[in-house]
């Protein structure tokens, strides 16, 4: 896993999932604006072909935005953000070319507003600083075309006025987007610091109970085999041949148990023990992790896998769960299981869990051919 970028999508995957319809809506709004303003100011257009091309490129930018922001393709990468922005700027420049010499009012141009809307829509997926940079670069590009076009504008004001008018929608919308993600990211960081302390404190509170229950397990074993042997020996002060044989047998049994424990990882514990609410009988499972790569997962990664396994058992009644972890430096985690639910129900249930998995792992892929479901993702071993 590469270092997580400070984006809303990676820090609050479910929030980004909830905001996805708004992303699509921003794309639709940009296209609608382009079409309405192009048709509404038809008399200012010198080249209808270029105007149509401008709308097409704008639509392509919106399409790319919707495509790349799909939860299935998360995380949204920088090159995708640059592509969307470049396409939007290109559309804006084309629309300027289409009305070259005949455009009288810069405020009626749809280009800057479309760029601003797309940058606003990008903000949940990219770091605030990147959105600001893209905004400044796009505003500079629009300023240059506006300056070049300024001799044709009506109104006896210096060209810089037109630049202010053209750049304002880009800066206002894009900076608003970056301010939005910056604020929510700060809230997440604040909450996380508090939650972390509380959760560690809660876990520590439970530590006594956990240790006692571990002791209980061990002591009940010892009470059965070891305590009678030891106390008998101390009482009699004589070692018999039978004692020696018993000591050897008990020692072998305890060693065998310890070997089994040493070989097990947290993943075995997770998969082999049925989550609460499921029938143990329908939970026979296998974990294959010869190099113990599951131990190299970070806390958040383990928690995400734990949440997924819980959802598979409780919400999808999954059976025959098996896990295979391969690779040592870069591990591939593959989970297969069977479930009888339909594809749409499966997608609806899994969407939030997959969003979280995508935030903490890389290269997640999901294959479902009823009843067999396979999830695969990768991570770098620390």
């Amino acid at each position: 896993m590469t270092a997580r970028e400070p984006t809303l999508q990676s820090l609050d995957p479910l929030g980004a999932l909830a905001g996805r319809p708004l992303t699509a809506l921003a794309g639709i709004a940009a296209i609608t604006l382009a079409v309405v303003l192009t048709v509404g100011y038809g008399r200012q257009i010198g080249s209808p072909v270029v105007a149509a091309l401008a709308i097409l490129v704008c639509a392509a930018a919106c399409g790319a935005l919707v495509w790349y922001s799909s939860p299935r393709r998360a995380p949204f990468r920088r090159r995708a953000a640059v592509l969307v922005t470049l396409a939007a700027v290109a559309a804006s420049v084309l629309s300027t070319v289409a009305s070259w010499g005949q455009n009288s009012l810069v405020r009626d141009d749809w280009g800057p507003v479309a760029i601003g809307l797309l940058l606003l829509a990008l903000s949940p997926y990219r770091p605030p600083l990147e959105i600001q940079t893209l905004a400044l670069v796009s505003a500079a590009a629009v300023a240059i075309t506006t300056l070049a076009e300024s001799p044709f504008f009506s109104g006896d004001v210096p060209p810089v006025t037109f630049v202010v008018v053209a750049a304002t929608p880009i800066l206002a919308l894009a900076l608003a987007g970056s301010a939005f993600s910056r604020t929510v990211i700060a809230r997440i960081a604040r909450w996380r610091a508090r939650a972390e302390t509380a959760s560690v404190a809660q876990a520590l509170n439970m530590q006594g109970g956990i240790t006692r229950s571990v002791q209980q397990g061990r002591v009940s074993l010892l009470n059965r085999d070891v305590v009678p042997l030891f106390s008998g020996l101390v009482e009699r002060s004589i070692v018999t041949l039978e004692d020696i044989e018993r000591a050897t047998a008990v020692s072998d049994a305890i060693r065998a148990l310890m070997v089994a424990e040493t070989e097990r990882t947290w993943l075995d514990e997770l998969i082999l023990h049925p989550p609460s609410g499921t029938e143990a009988a329908v939970w026979p499972s296998v974990v294959s992790d010869p190099s113990h790569s599951a131990d190299a997962m970070a806390f958040e990664q383990r928690a995400a896998v734990r949440a997924l396994v819980g959802a598979l058992g409780q919400r999808l009644a999954a059976r025959n769960v098996s896990v295979r972890v391969t690779g040592t430096r870069r591990a591939t985690f593959e989970l297969s299981c069977s479930t009888d639910v339909g594809e749409s129900h499966l997608n609806a249930v899994l969407a939030p869990y997959l969003a979280v998995l995508r935030a903490v792992f890389s290269d997640l892929s999901v294959a479902f051919a009823r009843p067999s479901l396979t999830l695969r993702f990768c991570y770098d071993c620390q």
Binding site: G15, D156, S181, S199, L233, R236, I238, M258, A303
Partner: protein
């Protein structure tokens, strides 16, 4: 845990984000209007356009107040006073700047957009819908009244209307989609908590395994190795002690302070390492101690305890596996660490070939030393004896040293 905001906090975080974003839009619009107004004034210095700038500054100040404290009072003040300032601004510029001919010119649109971008009150849908709508209506009313009063045309402002629509869609959109996507959040946070508990349990299990290995398994081995007849008093004492410490002692409490640490009678004598050597001598091993044993004064209590247990295990290994009755323990300090070498001239072994179920070196020595930042090196080959070097960090200025370390230069 950056696995997402919990459901009850998300609306407030998103609400705060939208309010901040709205205020940024308002600030950019006011700044744009300010620049353009200054340009108009510099183009025509005879005209008194400058009073309009004060209206903009007033709106900026009100915006700063709403940004600092967003509540019903500040939002209402921004809307009402802002509306009045827009009226003032419009009255000035529509009279003084001839090219501004109607109520929806760009500079007035910017002010209206700034009023729309007031931000929501509370986290409910109504609180996010009403303020922008009120801002739009008040802005339109202010510019229309000013235009009518100055004889300029009154026009519907499409820019302000679209800005209002944008705020409303974002406000409503974020409240609608929220519930469905957040439904899984509690189970994700529960999984994180489960993971924390599982990690604690794993640590407890590992500690229990090490404890079990150090006590019960070695007792069992001692019984198995003895010959039928009277029980040796050393073994009897050991069995008695271990029964109490394993079955009778609550493991969740801090390990009972070993009796040898109770008093700083002497630096070496007080250390867990000395106690380990003493115990091994009790098993019948003849141990030669050399080097600088007093250097253990530089160890923290935790490191000393771990070192004592580890070296104790190494000496038990010598006793059980080397076939020798003598061993050498060398202690020396330097370079911020303390080293203990345990040497025997016995059978030796190949570490790669020893049974998987020989836990002594793995559980009791290596994992213990790793836990306190130390390391272990083993030199051994079948037939040529075994040397084990254990190195632990020695912090002379440790917060909790075994005994106070003399500063050397007492005045």
């Amino acid at each position: 845990m950056s696995l997402g905001l919990p459901g009850h906090l998300a609306p407030r975080a998103v609400g705060a984000g939208i309010a901040r974003a709205s205020h940024v839009v308002a600030a950019v619009c006011l700044a744009g209007a300010f620049v353009v107004t200054v340009i108009h004034q510099t183009l025509d210095v005879d005209k008194a356009i400058w009073p309009a700038l004060f209206a903009l500054l007033g709106m900026g100040a009100l915006l700063a107040v709403v940004e600092r404290r967003r509540n019903l009072l500040s939002v209402s003040a921004y809307l009402l006073l802002g509306g009045a300032l827009i009226y003032l601004f419009s009255s000035v510029v529509l009279v003084q700047v001839p090219i501004l001919t109607n109520s929806s010119v760009w500079v007035l649109s910017m002010l209206k957009v700034a009023l729309v971008m007031v931000g929501a009150v509370g986290t409910r849908t109504l609180g996010s819908v009403l303020p922008p709508l009120a801002g739009y209506l008040l802005g339109e009313a202010a510019t229309a009244t000013a235009a009518a009063a100055t004889g300029k045309a009154v026009q519907l402002d499409l820019t302000a209307a679209l800005a209002t629509l944008l705020v409303l869609v974002v406000g409503v959109g974020t409240t609608l989609g929220r519930a469905a996507a957040r439904r899984a959040q509690p189970s994700i946070h529960r999984a994180a908590m489960d993971e924390r508990v599982a990690a604690l349990r794993a640590t407890a299990e590992a500690r229990a395994a090490a404890l079990l290995h150090d006590t019960i398994l070695s007792d069992l081995a001692a019984i198995a190795a003895s010959t039928p007849g009277p029980l040796s008093p050393t073994l009897a004492n050991q069995l008695q002690g271990d029964l109490v410490s394993i079955v009778g002692h609550d493991w969740s409490e801090e390990p009972a302070p070993s009796s040898h640490l109770s008093g700083p009678a002497g630096v070496w004598e007080a250390s867990a390492l000395a106690s380990a050597v003493q115990t091994a001598r009790g098993l019948g091993l003849d141990i030669t101690l050399s080097g600088d044993p007093a250097a253990v004064a530089g160890l923290s209590r935790e490191v000393d305890d771990a070192l004592g247990l580890a070296v104790g295990q190494l000496l038990i290994n010598v006793h059980k596996h080397s076939g020798e009755t003598t061993a050498e323990v060398v202690v020396y300090a330097g370079g911020g660490s303390l080293s203990v070498m345990v040497i025997d001239g016995g059978r030796g072994f190949d570490e790669r070939l020893i049974d998987r179920d020989r836990f002594g070196l793995r559980h009791s020595v290596r994992s213990r030393m790793a836990a306190v930042g130390g390391r272990v090196q083993v030199w051994s080959a079948p037939g040529s004896g075994t040397s084990v070097l254990v190195q632990v960090p020695a912090v002379v200025s440790a917060e909790d040293p075994l005994v106070p370390v003399p500063t050397g230069e007492d005045r």
